[in-house]
């Protein structure tokens, strides 16, 4: 019964206009974002620039972070990104005093005047290097930590500063490590390249990048398909007919859900093929032993939980309210997930975000060190989607038995009768 219904539902999905619009959007995303992307070539000695990297050196993190804090302390306003949007925080007197105390303990700077003098001399010292009349990229202020300040005490005080600012600042645990941006050396660049070609076997890094771009859209698009499918029975007046069938609610809803998830994974796998073949071609030319299943692994491991969750949200809210409310709920969730992840683009900071970001083919070590967190994240969303599907089945079953009906029209009638 389940198999028959699954095939039927897959056919229904294949006939859906919304489904083909989703496929078109995914093709558009692929073409515009990654279709023409060049495969990274081996860095050569003597290149002018190898890019920047976040230093993991504790001394670097301390001096760059303290430089940023002192600069904002002088300005009197602090920049935070609680959900990825710029937020300028101005503190009250008590909070300002607390920050002053943190600055004093971490840097030894006891007054705002002293801080201003240090900043002025820092930028003054950089001016001659550029020459008269030339524009130059000023290096960010660096402040040496007070003598005897341990890294543990530093992190403790920075966490306090972040809490005072309401979270999302450069001093909190999430963003602190990315404050110290230092130029990459040839050795850094070649190490990253070797990680990509040897440990990630080339396709791993590009499959992750592919998943990053696709994930942004797959965090929202599935909801349109499931909401349409759930509303379809009512729209075509078939709800009562299906409800009276002997097939169980579990089989009806589960087959619908599985079919939609399968039908959404299918185009993702197909769209990855041209990129995958380019990677394989490059790998064979460069003598790299590429992982032929990397794109499949990442599609199932990275993207499927996102697809499952967005689809389950759509099903649940449509069944609950008989409206397109799921679109709004998932839209809001997508908004926060996307903007909340803008400071984690480099990867290795996946947290509990529905749309984990890793917008580079590099940083294998970041991915590796945060793998346990990523795995926990993905498992959580699979479980959440299964819970939502189970609740959908429950609601659907109650509706079939005539025990549950919530619609805005009924609420309106109820109000009138009262």
């Amino acid at each position: 019964m389940f198999g028959q219904l699954l095939i039927k539902e897959c056919r229904q999905t294949a006939k859906s206009l919304i489904y083909w619009l989703i496929v078109l959007v995914l093709i558009f995303v692929f073409t515009t974002q990654i279709g023409e992307m060049d495969i990274l070539t081996e860095p050569q000695k003597g290149q002018a620039d190898y890019g920047y990297k976040a230093s993991s050196d504790e001394a670097d993190i301390m001096k760059f972070t303290l430089g940023a804090l002192v600069q904002e302390y002088i300005r009197g306003s602090y920049t935070t990104y609680p959900i990825g949007f710029y937020k300028s925080v101005t503190l009250n007197e008590k909070e300002e005093r607390q920050i002053r105390e943190i600055v004093r303990e971490t840097t030894g700077i006891s007054s705002q005047e002293e801080a201003e003098e240090i900043m002025e001399s820092w930028y003054e010292a950089q001016r001659p290097a550029a020459g008269d009349g030339q524009e130059t990229m000023m290096k960010n202020l660096e402040i040496a930590p007070a003598s005897g300040l341990s890294y543990d005490r530093f992190t403790e005080l920075m966490d306090q500063a972040d809490a005072i600012l309401g979270g999302g600042s450069s001093y909190g645990e999430t963003y602190r490590s990315s404050n110290a941006q230092v130029p990459k050396t040839y050795e850094d660049a070649i190490t990253e390249y070797r990680e990509l070609t040897e440990k990630d076997r080339l396709t791993g890094g590009y499959a992750r990048l592919f998943s990053d771009y696709m994930g942004i859209f797959l965090g929202l698009l599935p909801v349109f398909l499931t909401v349409t499918r759930e509303l379809r029975d009512r729209r075509s007046g078939m709800q009562e007919l299906i409800c009276s069938r002997k097939c169980s609610s579990l089989v009806i809803i589960a087959s619908r859900y599985v079919s939609m998830v399968v039908m959404l994974i299918l185009p993702v796998l197909l769209i990855s093929l041209p990129f995958f073949s380019r990677c394989m071609k490059y790998a064979s030319g460069a003598g790299i032993s590429a992982d032929a299943f990397a794109f499949v692994k990442y599609t199932f491991g990275w993207l499927t939980p996102t697809i499952m969750t967005a689809a389950a949200v759509g099903m649940f809210f449509t069944e609950l309210t008989d409206t397109a409310l799921g679109v709004l709920v998932q839209g809001v969730w997508w908004f926060f997930a996307t903007f909340g992840g803008v400071n984690t683009l480099h990867g290795g900071m996946y947290g509990w975000n529905l749309i984990p970001r890793h917008n580079t083919e590099l940083n294998w070590s970041g991915y590796q060190s945060a793998f346990a967190q990523l795995a926990a994240n993905r498992i959580l969303y699979v479980l959440l989607s299964l819970v939502l599907v189970a609740l959908t089945i429950l609601i659907y079953d109650q509706k079939r038995k005539g025990r549950y009906r919530l619609s805005w029209k009924n609420i309106g009638r109820l109000k009138k009768s009262i």
């Binding site: 206009l17 515009t32 949007f85 937020k87 300028s88 929202l220 679109v327």
Partner: protein
Amino acid sequence: MEKYWQIEKVNLKYHIPLHILVCVLLLGVSPLLMGVANLSAEDTAKVLERYTALIGIVMLTPVFLPEQDRNLRELVSARYTDCAAVYLVRVLGNVFVLACLLGMYIFMLYYNQCSFPAVKYFLGTLAEMLFFGGLGLGFYGLTDHLVAGYMAAMVYYISAIGIRSTNPFLKLFYPFSMSAGSYTEKYFLFAGAVVLMAAGVYLRCRRK
């Protein structure tokens, strides 16, 4: 005139209170999520273009929803009043509500010491709202599917977030131009919005 006022009264009373509530909630929670005080012109534009303008999708896309039921649609089209007039009254009413909500939000930003050209930003953001809403309405009219309308508008928004202003796919219809210092796109967005809404209403009225 009395007839059109009646149409709008019904719209306000039965069709859009929930949508207005969603918009008020979205705007109301914004100070908790992002900076709305002491912002520069660029940062104010960012808030208006990337967040506030989204309420255009909520308010304008579902204009045809009350007649989603085919039987009801037949009944409405059999009436003396042209269905296009009904839809246009609803669209104008919803645009007026949007303008009021945006006006209040702009006033709040102004009151919070954000420095920006208020009238220019009001009109620019309204044009963007209308374009997003028009896109939803146009696709709803084209496909007779509310979800397709929401999808078109939201996909456009996401694409614009990920695509730079110079990208040939968007060019003059780039919705976040004010924060990049350009205003020309807003005229095109407004013109596009008018065309899309007119097309949506026309397509919907043709579909009996």
